[in-house]
Subunit: 250 residues, 6 copies
């Protein structure tokens, strides 16, 4: 199967990291196609940036979705997920969604651990949107600046392990979800330093996507994620405009 | 005071309608500046379209916010509201938000009545985001096609009045919020045919915005809606890019 | 328009303060009519006192409501609000309700800051009744005695500003609602010392009431706040008894 | 033990009915002292009437509480309960509270069945205040007028049995709480006509009060129901004023 | 009346303690029949142990229920309660359930105080199952080992009193529920050292059971706790198998 | 990898069906080891039967867990899941849990469709335990008897497809979870007759278990599912007793 790994951030270093984490655990027949957004910011951490990133995701999918079996929106926060799930025919999963859904099968609750406080307020909205608030006991974030978004997980490795331990001892977390695309590949490195399961969202996302493709679920023709009726539009990319107007190929 | 009335839909007929409803009840010193989105769809009704509309709102505000005292995002569903509230210094209110906040002072609960079923699923997310779910007893929508988005409220006037009555008798609604920018101006016409208060969201929005401007609330420098830290970006409009980078004038 | 500003407390100094705060921001044509309860306690802070204050509010309104366009119940806690909204034909708003509804348009959440711990447990019930619990991240109160209810906001000004800052830094408050009629006029004095919007409930209440009157909402004839059927009564004031029996003038 | 059975309604016929139901199941050593409110309405069914009834309850308790071991507020809706629990030293229980707490030990959920639709909206607030909303699957009420409040349970016996059955079959009720003081004595008459347990609130209240007295719980000196600090007051009954001022005997 | 007091733990010392606490407050005509599980663990503190204990409860009841008027499942956590309530004709109440239902009539909220941290996570599930989560402000447990399960309440008396005080001062508890069968008899000893009502669950359970028997509620023939349809089974005790198959005497 | 497929029901025909469904979608290297409970009932549908089934699951796992990489509890309702997750070192997933977690990635909400009304009340508890109540819009069940538990999905195929359609049209379900082990293999047969994704829980469970094993999550040493401390026991199977006492091999 052919899976789009869409990084809604513009940082190709982060895309490479996500790709590596996903490839580590992918099944033999899975082809991962990484795509980096050409519009937006290096890493999304606010509601305004999410809109920009979500817009980029819709444009990418309107170009690529017909050549793929499934797509991962590879930023924790899942920009554009609801819209993508409506608009396209292939299964789409978000990095946060896959990580949290996996965590529900490992514990009664989870904590989210990330590398910058600015992310917390946006992440909370993501948790709420996914209706996982009653599962999420805390969102904990480091509060000091980092040097580079590409290597923040190596730079802060010890502090992140410590923060995960704090989530366990202070918040009673059964599971820790390591959040943010730049933290892909971290879980396996610190696994032995934290007493509960750690979720690497890139790993979770590729495996959940393989599951969704394997089980051959049909595209909804009713409910929240049925395809919207055709609409004309102004000022959008040609492919997105065609998709909205039901004038695309598929 | 000078208030931007931003229609995230591309239909200028709806903008004119919103303007008329707001002008009917505005205070003497209030100048209303209508703006219609130049990108997007004639009327937003899905999550994908909301992203497009939210993106347009951010672009408009990055051009116009420094010349205004406040801004209304004039589509029920409030596309881009969270991002706008973070990114800009003036108060911003959504059409849905203003209507629902007003309804809380008139009854224990409210129903939302609108003109097309396709809107319901997106509206529900808006209600949830605003944490008004425990107040909203139903979202009721007409299920037949309409001729023109500009005149749907006249075309469907009787059916909408009937539907409002159903919300009262079946769902126990204390208040009915008439939802969707195209329903501006309807409430006063059907006021005597429904036994509970009817909220015209365009009226509510302009009055709530006047209130917010009059009470001179400061821009948050902490919490969810503090301004994000400066970020570089790729592929965005010059003004939005400058605003994200803290390189705009204000 | 003519607005009753009903202080359910017996302290006329607090009434004067409320009047001043409301008058500061009222529109040109608004006449504010202050009324102080002649029965009850100097300041309500418990459930038992609320009943006494709510009873006084109903008596006052049964005397005055037909000569007014709207009424404010000017104690945080809103004693008698539900009953008043049922029983009388004019719009009625509570001090807490107006402050909290306004706060919802400024942040995702708010904290309530007040001057005496004894108020907290009653205020929590008020927040719950208004279904704003999911918005209210904390109720914080000073824990030392004060000299006079009339001047507590001046006496404790620095401590209250500090407490508001604690609500921001510890509880993540996006907005701080300054609670209790005796704190009217405080917000503007400490505005520059707190990094988030501060709500002065007396200001919010007069503006929300102007909005409700301007938008000409009809009295509910169905739902929770329809007028109760006529009932005879024993031992009540003549005017309240007449109102319950549908034998009053209006 | 000596238990006050306070009817906050002015109808002495209802008091007699409550007394009979309680006496049927009281333990040998229990003395029941019925008291009928001298101020208020024949039967409370709205928020405004609740304030009047709650005020009467506080006055009665300030006269009688020191000569009793416990008190029942014998109107479904429990007017004045929170205030009474703060202000007085003996245990106080409400008719609704006792019925619903008992129902939690008989089923996962319950329905409330009553004789007049006007009661429903006030009862819902009572359920919410007691935090039993997640247990209460419906409030069902007859919608036709009745002849006399004293005999409504006999007049409507068949209809009420039918309505209880509807609550079981339509709403999945595990238990039916027969609500409203005038429905005391009904449960035993229709017991064989409804397939789930029926709660007679007067029976439940006297037994729960015996339990509370027998178990000798101390009066709270902390938390929500500690006694309020002393306060002066204006215009209240001598005994209530003395109780608020800590100048009463006990 | 004849009440089974079933200890699902295998420790007969704890059974004796429960019996003593219940006997202290039982009514004259109440005969208490203590039964100790012959299968299981000395004291249940986890989900796995709960299943074992619940299984033992069902076996005991299938032997004994027809000779009794009611049954108490005397372990906080209430193992087997739902199943027992379905399967048998007499009223059944759990130790936790009786304690918490009683606490609702004493305060707005309660804390649970117990003697070992290992109990907390199982107790939380019990609170959730009973839908009392919105009432329970904390579960606090001692974190040091104890010598003997029979005497832990004497050994830890001072620490438990201290912990109850912490629940009041830190968590705002209105009531403290002393949890775990081994803490029967403790409440009366430390009553004067804690400023809020203390619930002894064994006392609460026997009085609530007397109430349920006295009020003669019928066995549900509909809803969640109607008797299951007859089923054959393999490998169970003869009496339990007969009960499941509707081949028992009653 | 070697996965235990534990059927807590005693019907081996259902085990064969579950095995077939899982084998259809399992990865090449996955060995599925079916086990049928030797104690209990042919199909679990009530709380009492769940305890019996959960007990059987713990006994089976105490025999088999060290020879496996993971285990599926293959009854919708997930008897014994919490206890198994505590007590054993391998990942354990429930049929209901896997189906519902998968559904969260396909829609905003889901309905559960099953073949007998007696299952509904137990299933609701399962949904609540998993904290998926806000996702589950309905549980719908056929209400007529069936001939054989082994073939109920063939016998009722058309009615079940119809019921799934009702869940979509009446309840707004985005996804339908076909519930109950006997409904394995049904989804693929009726896929084209229902307009939303259908979840076959046996398929979902084997794929989720493969995911959990592949991602090598560690056994929790803290939180809700850490292994309980060693305990002696009476009257249990040798292997379960050894596991509780920490005297088993692993």
């Amino acid at each position: 199967m052919r899976i789009l790994l869409i990084n809604p951030n513009t940082s190709s270093g982060v895309t490479a990291r996500l790709h590596a984490a996903a490839a580590n655990v992918a099944a033999p027949g899975t082809e991962i196609v990484p795509v980096t957004a050409s519009k937006g910011v290096p890493y999304i951490s606010t509601r305004a940036e999410e809109i920009v990133g979500g817009h980029a995701v819709l444009e990418i999918l309107s170009e690529e979705s017909t050549q793929a079996d499934g797509a991962i929106i590879a930023a924790f926060g899942d920009p554009g997920l609801g819209g993508a799930r409506e608009l396209f025919d292939i299964p789409v999963v978000g990095l946060a969604e896959a990580g949290m859904a996996t965590a529900t099968m490992l514990g009664r609750n989870f904590s989210i651990v990330t590398f910058a406080t600015s992310l917390g307020s946006w992440y909370q909205e993501c948790v709420d949107w996914h209706k996982f608030s009653s599962r999420c006991v805390s969102i904990r974030a480091l509060d000091k600046p980092f040097k580079s978004i590409d290597d923040v997980s190596e730079e802060k490795e010890d502090l992140l392990a410590e923060l995960a331990n704090t989530a366990v001892s202070e918040d009673g977390a059964d599971v820790v979800v390591l959040a943010g695309a730049p933290l892909a590949l971290l879980a396996s490195r610190i696994r032995d330093r934290v007493p509960v399961p750690l979720v690497d969202c890139a790993e979770a996302a590729i495996k959940q996507m393989e599951l969704l493709v394997t089980l051959k679920f049909r595209k909804a023709a009713a409910g929240n994620f049925r395809r919207p009726v055709a609409k004309s539009s102004l000022g959008l990319s040609a492919s997105l405009s065609a998709r909205l107007a039901h004038q695309d190929v598929s």
